[in-house]
């Protein structure tokens, strides 16, 4: 069965600094997607970035980038130039025909 593990329940970062959130997963599939979702206090799920497993190039979206290590089944999210609005829960997810989510990392941004 597929699993997603986020080992950091909470992280803090100073405003304008860089932070990396960790995620590992387990699967026997070869084709899948990986996602990072942001969940603010409103609890809406906002897609931050996604990575296609067959692409070696790491995805980037403005200040957000991933480090995808397929062999190691690792998918970390790097947030550069952190802003107060980045404070939220971040969920890593593995996706085929259904999504499997990790337990989340609460990110605090310190002014």
């Amino acid at each position: 069965a597929q699993t997603v593990t986020q080992s950091q329940p909470e992280m803090s970062v100073q405003e304008a600094e860089t932070v990396t959130l960790s995620c590992t997963y387990d699967t026997s599939e070869s084709d899948y997607y990986l996602f990072w979702y942001k969940q603010p206090p409103s609890r809406q799920m906002i897609l931050v970035i996604r990575q296609e497993a067959y692409k070696q190039q790491n995805a980037t979206e403005n200040r957000f980038s991933v480090n995808f290590q397929k062999a190691a089944k690792s998918f970390s999210l790097k947030i550069s130039d952190s802003q107060l609005g980045d404070a939220a829960m971040y969920f890593c997810a593995y996706g085929t025909y259904k999504y499997i989510f990790g337990t989340g990392t609460r990110l605090k941004v310190l002014a």
Partner: protein, 115 residues
């Protein structure tokens, strides 16, 4: 930009009552999903639906739950007799295909509170 919508945003009900959570998927999408997130926990898959049939369901999706596409636009989740432990955020999602290449788009969620 097309989006998934859900109503109501917050539903409060008494234990034992039936509730129906409603979703309007993106119009050209054919695959529909419900997920659940108990407060403080991770998001969990409940059920997927395609061509008026359940494609897959999780262990959580027991006989108390049912899904339906009553018309061409709505997708509903019914809980027949709510329990306290059904209190959670329920997310609807839709996609234009059922493979890993088809991104699921999530709605804003319905917060269900069972008293």
């Amino acid at each position: 930009e097309p989006e998934v919508t859900q109503t109501p945003s917050h539903q409060v009900t008494q234990m034992g009552q039936e509730v129906i959570l409603r979703c309007v998927p993106i119009s050209n999408h054919l695959y529909f999903y419900w997920y659940r997130q108990i407060l403080g926990q991770k998001v969990e898959f409940l059920v997927s639906f395609y061509n008026n049939e359940i494609s897959e369901k999780s262990e959580i999706f027991d006989d108390q739950f049912s899904v339906e596409r009553p018309d061409g636009s709505n997708f509903t989740l019914k809980i027949r007799s709510t329990k306290l432990e059904d209190s959670a955020m329920y997310f609807c999602a839709s996609s234009d295909g059922g493979t890993s290449y088809n991104e699921q788009f999530f709605g804003p969620g319905t917060r269900l509170t069972v008293l």
